[in-house]
Point group: C2
């Protein structure tokens, strides 16, 4: 397998983008990534696009063709990949493999979703398609309900508290306040979360990531440049919660991250910055534990101690604001996580920059309630990470 580097990144502003269209969001992120890479659009050999539910949100399928058309790059191959909220990471992974395998030399990856053109009820139903439609959504189990079951069980088994979960949201809003692309750039307090309306107990409004419009793009190349991808791993599990061995862990996250650390030959403790999938606050706690950043049941207490936030020692989590504050345009999220890690590894994250030299960054993106988990580890080649 060849070495693969990220040489360009671009984001649209995330938020309620009533001012623009799905295809314009693609261009907004895509053109930035191409300009940032310094390559000519004509050098791009293929496009991989992540999008979850454009059919439900805007009535448009055939997203690969739409992306290549919008960027004026046809007739090159352009493929849409879908893995619910992990669609962006799955697109990134397949683009990475296309270069690593020697098939292509320069590839563009995009992620996009425009979710605000339908009612919140219709959006919740569309998102329910990320789980098991027949055995969960049909009987009323929307995503807040599924994650509420997980949260309640985690509280029961490990003593995790609503306040500990809330601290994820507070931290991520702090980070989002420093991110000009974030949907929410306002800080919140523990009380903001605790006093917000109950969505599915114990989850309250501020435990939940929002409905978001947005797009993200990166350019990959076979050349060994700043920033390098160390590994890309994915694992799958039962679509519905009922098929899982346990609901207080995401087994697919554990498997994918174990493979990632083994393949990159590093330990979780060596990661400096991570973008974790906080669709709900409990999901960030699960990710911290399942990846091995915290022992089982200890993520909550460590959040209480002020860990994982900018300025703290050790791993810094969700400097972008995460899904909670930066927003969660589902198909775009996985690629946005990579954009943030690249900026951290380049040292260009501005007010969000983690202190010290960030040498290793990780992205963790979940599809549905954990039926797909994708882990990427990136390294700052410029600062010469060399394990051996």
């Amino acid at each position: 397998m060849r070495s693969v580097s990220v040489i360009g990144v671009g984001l649209s502003k995330f938020g309620e983008r009533w001012d623009t269209s799905f295809r314009q969001l693609i261009a907004e992120a895509g053109v930035k990534a191409i300009l940032d890479s310094g390559i000519d659009g004509k050098d791009i050999e293929a496009i991989y696009g992540g999008c979850m539910a454009s059919g439900r949100f805007i009535g448009q399928e055939h997203i690969g063709a739409l992306i290549v058309d919008q960027l004026g790059l046809n007739p090159i191959p352009s493929t849409r990949l879908e893995a619910a909220c992990a669609s962006g990471s799955v697109a990134f992974r397949n683009a990475y493999l296309a270069i690593a395998s020697g098939m292509h030399d320069v590839v563009a990856v995009g992620g996009v979703e425009k979710m605000t053109e339908v009612s919140v009820e219709d959006a919740a139903t569309a998102l329910g398609g990320a789980g098991d439609q027949e055995w969960e959504l049909f009987i009323g189990a929307t995503f807040p309900a599924l994650y509420a079951l997980i949260a309640r069980r985690h509280m029961q088994e490990y003593g995790t508290t609503e306040e500990q979960m809330a601290l994820c949201a507070v931290k991520n809003h702090d980070n989002g306040s420093k991110n000009p692309y974030a949907q929410y750039q306002n800080k919140i307090t523990l009380e903001t979360v605790m006093n917000s309306g109950v969505i599915a107990s114990p989850l309250k409004l501020f435990d939940c990531s929002p409905i978001t419009d947005g797009a993200s793009a990166v350019i990959l190349t076979a050349k060994n440049q700043h920033v390098k991808i160390l590994t890309s791993q994915v694992a799958t599990d039962s679509t519905g919660l009922a098929g899982r061995e346990s609901i207080t862990e995401i087994k697919a996250t554990k498997l994918a991250s174990q493979k990632a650390f083994a393949s990159a030959n590093i330990d979780p403790q060596e990661i400096n910055v991570a973008e974790l999938h906080d669709c709900f606050t409990i999901a960030e706690i699960l990710a911290l534990e399942d990846i091995g950043f915290a022992k089982k049941g200890e993520a909550g207490p460590r959040l209480e101690k002020g860990q994982f936030k900018l300025g703290s020692k050790g791993l810094i989590v969700n400097t972008s604001g995460g899904l909670k504050a930066a927003g969660h345009p589902v198909g775009a999220t996985g690629v946005k996580q990579v954009v943030e890690i690249v900026q951290q590894l380049r040292g260009t994250a501005g007010k969000r920059q983690a202190e010290g030299d960030a040498k290793l960054g990780l992205t963790h993106n979940i599809g549905g309630s954990g039926a797909t988990a994708v882990i990427h580890i990136l390294t700052n080649k410029g600062k010469a990470f060399n394990k051996n």
Copy 2:
């Protein structure tokens, strides 16, 4: 690039499958393909699934996870790819590339769509998402309307007649009557087509492929076995018709097939059997001409002369019954085309078997009105095709 062979094929019965569910269709085709291949399910390293609009049709996304879960094969990677009606071929192509590049040794490909759980109006709207939603569907241009524009212009420029188009449907129903998996296994006459209700003039009901439930699956391996894939090519074009240089040809088909013939080092005239994308009868005429099986404007007259049908000399087209008679479960169609060609090359197509030794077969799958075109050429290694 390594050699890639198809070692197992499977289909569900195509049709209005009120008796079964989306996930059961996957199992119906998938288990057959695994059994046909002679491998153990545990040998499968990854799954690529094609599905266009499950979100619109059954409220379910995250199809990669659903497939791997349904086949009991998690935690291996399982990815859904979407390119409208070419979703199956794009899944097949990416699986082929995964093996050719050395990434995997054994991969399963599935295609699936369950289209009859919504009204015909809702299905037509969902399918409209294969074209340009903003610039075509929103103003009322459904797919029959788009292909009617193409047909009318082709009649004007080349003298193609409604009768010539109708003969595609007659031929394909003849073939479908020999296919136990086909949605329609009844022969029809020229009068059946000509006297059927007008859908979008000049296209009548029997010029149009139906709404279908169905699934298809194949198993690919790196071993050099019977049947071998010679090449996989794709090209893209503008999503909407308004962006095209011409609407009497599908430029993406021309580009993809030119690349395919060059890459395989063969001429169109060497192909024995082809499955062409006849979503509407005019589409088969375009494909015959754009791939180079007939000169521009001559496909219609050659159909009148009785060419391309079983028992005629030269190329035999759509022995499966094509989209018209076998049915068009959009995400499944591209993989079903491969299943048919494999059966022809194996000599196991029964009453549909083309006479003589079929040595080279081609599949042609279109997304939307031609924004994506995928060409695969397969060869019967057992009968020792050797160009050089």
